[in-house]
Symmetry: C2
Subunit: 351 residues, 2 copies
DNA sequence: CCTTGGCACTCGTTTGGTGAGAGTGCCAGG
DNA sequence: CCTGGCACTCTCACCAAACGAGTGCCAAGG
């Protein structure tokens, strides 16, 4: 398998490359004749047919039906991406647009949302940005604001700059001063810990004797636990933008396929699982057709990249589109946006 | 025009009613024969044809082509809704679901978002909830939290329970104590005023002499203005949910119509304009086809209702769907959800 | 040994035509 | 005013034929 890159001789590689590129450009099955007319080869259609027949035997090409041209298979695309593709650099303009857009906002959630829109627009595909729950990340501060009798707004700021608000309803009565103090205490005590840690610490504290006597401490702990609880339920941690761009893709012209595709995009859980699995890997990931259940069933491809600070990946950004897409353009695009987000987050952290 | 309800005799009305109902149920053009077979009339197809021809002359019906059955026109639907429709009450179960869902959350934004989902699900149409900017509404409190050096989270709570957060970047340095004080001051000074008022007051204050000398007051005013500025840019004040349900509607089976429709839903500005125009009216509003540019071009109908507290409408909730929809069911549904939201908001206010 | 032109074969797509079916409009008679 | 009858129109489904695109294979030529 590791020799796969060697399996094809130079000419076969060129032919495969050309077929993929033409097919991506036109969307149609490629015939030996159109390939010969392209001018890249000094060969007759008949010779090309022989090469193409070989490529088909090896599983890189397929025919929709006898007497149609050939289209790349999953395997063909995969080979193309690994060994044949020449990435098309982003234009100066594109890079500027991205830097500007990503650099612009201050609230991370907002920046992420904008990023998915931007991605969708530049790629003309569905843009996805995923941010896993804050639970695994460290906090910088935690504050409480009295909003109404028995209603308290809790503001948690992560070291990565993510801001989460949540309204807590409680039977306990707090004055503004108390809340102020509690905020200071928790921030001081738990700075740099993850919510998960904090939660466990707080629970342990409830069991300690000392706490049972100090009324104020009791209230603090109660409020703290409330605040940390269910942060995961904060929704909108998956942004899917530009679903309408699917409509412009001819491969989804049959209404049924389209309907299925849309419903698939609605099933956010599955999408989240999939993106989560992209989270650990460091570089750019490309999932094609049969690579995963999700893409297999719906004939999608996914180009995704983790973003985050240094060694800690925070989330995943990527695009979803038909298998036939311009990988040579999409790959650098997603890569660049991922990097831009990482830079942004690292900047945030340093403040 | 006010006599329109009288323009048709009893039989014609019955026929129109029956045609609309059958067409809504089946989606097909209704022929004289199928109408006769329905059993509601003791007439032969030929007689019904005469009645139908009259209705067509008056503009209530139309034929897609010669020798097809007849379909209601905009005007036909409008007449049906105004004079012929018998609203179908909501079931006990539906009412319970709504009450529960709407009563559940605490943050208004969240409640509204849920409402649009709920609406989309119950109606099997696109659900829309619109909340205009806070600018016109009174505030209950305003608080500031130091998030990082030079970054301040501003929390504004409206008397209607809406909570808005916004991060402000500023060159000025504030301590936590100062922020606490400023919050108290502004809340005390401006309680019950609209953001618009507050803004003008603050600007006027900058010009007063007294302010020029008091350093602290200067900082307060600067921060206050920052906070009030651009509240309108907070997005997500329009929730559009369940766009995929359009895919299930046969009238949008041609891919082109579908594409257009989706793009239309993306154009949030136009949609906002339209919904804004529904805001002033008190009761339930139904816009059909040619009633507005938006619905005209895309062959939509909109069923909408204002919600809010007592005399002050806060926003609009409604559904968007094809002209052919079950108005008899949609109308009470939208109405009920609108009322539920209003109740919720009034409750919020009293706290 | 590779390349190439030729040729038969396969399929999908388009075209034209035909017939059935559904529905209307109109008319004349009850 | 209602109704049955009849001619007319339009759509749709179906079928056959022609067409075109593309392949596979083979035999001849460098």
């Amino acid at each position: 398998m590791s020799q796969q890159g060697e399996e094809l001789d130079g000419r076969a590689r060129e032919v495969l490359r050309e077929i993929v590129m033409q097919h991506v450009a036109t969307g149609e099955a490629i015939s030996s004749r159109s390939l010969a007319k392209g001018g890249h080869f000094q060969l007759s259609p008949a010779s090309l047919r022989n090469v193409m027949a070989d490529l088909e035997d090896l599983g890189y090409l397929a025919q929709p039906h006898t007497s149609a041209g050939r289209v790349p298979t999953d395997r063909g695309y995969r080979f193309f991406i690994n060994y044949l593709m020449k990435s098309r650099m982003l234009t100066q303009r594109e890079r500027e647009t991205i830097d500007e857009q990503v650099g612009h906002g201050t609230e991370i959630d907002h920046v992420l949302h904008e990023a998915s829109r931007l991605l969708s627009r530049l790629a003309d595909q569905v843009g996805v940005v995923f941010m896993p729950t804050l639970l695994q990340f460290a906090i910088r501060s935690m504050d409480f604001v009295l909003v109404a009798e028995n209603k308290i707004l809790c503001v948690i700021v992560g070291t990565n700059g993510v801001v989460v608000n949540k309204i807590i309803e409680t039977r306990l009565n707090f004055t503004r001063d108390e809340l102020e103090k509690i905020g200071r205490y928790i921030t001081g005590e738990f700075f740099g810990l993850t919510l998960d840690h904090i939660r466990r610490r707080l629970v342990r504290m409830t069991e300690e004797e000392r706490a049972m006597q100090d009324q104020m401490l009791q209230k603090t702990i109660a409020l703290g636990i409330e605040a940390v609880n269910d942060v995961r339920t904060i929704d909108n941690d998956l942004y899917v933008e530009g679903a309408a761009s699917i409509l412009t893709k001819p491969e989804f012209s049959e209404t049924m396929a389209l309907r299925k595709t849309f419903l698939a995009l609605q099933e956010k859980e599955k999408l989240i699982d999939l993106l989560n699995s992209c989270l650990t890997e460091d570089g750019l990931q490309i999932l094609i057709g049969s690579d995963s259940d999700f893409t297999h069933v719906h004939n999608f491809s996914i180009v995704a990249k983790s973003y985050g600070s240094h060694n800690a990946p925070l989330g995943v950004v990527g695009i979803i589109g038909p298998m036939r897409m311009e990988y040579a353009r999409m790959a650098p695009l997603v890569d660049y946006i991922g990097r831009a987000l990482s830079r942004k987050i690292e900047e945030e952290e340093q403040q």
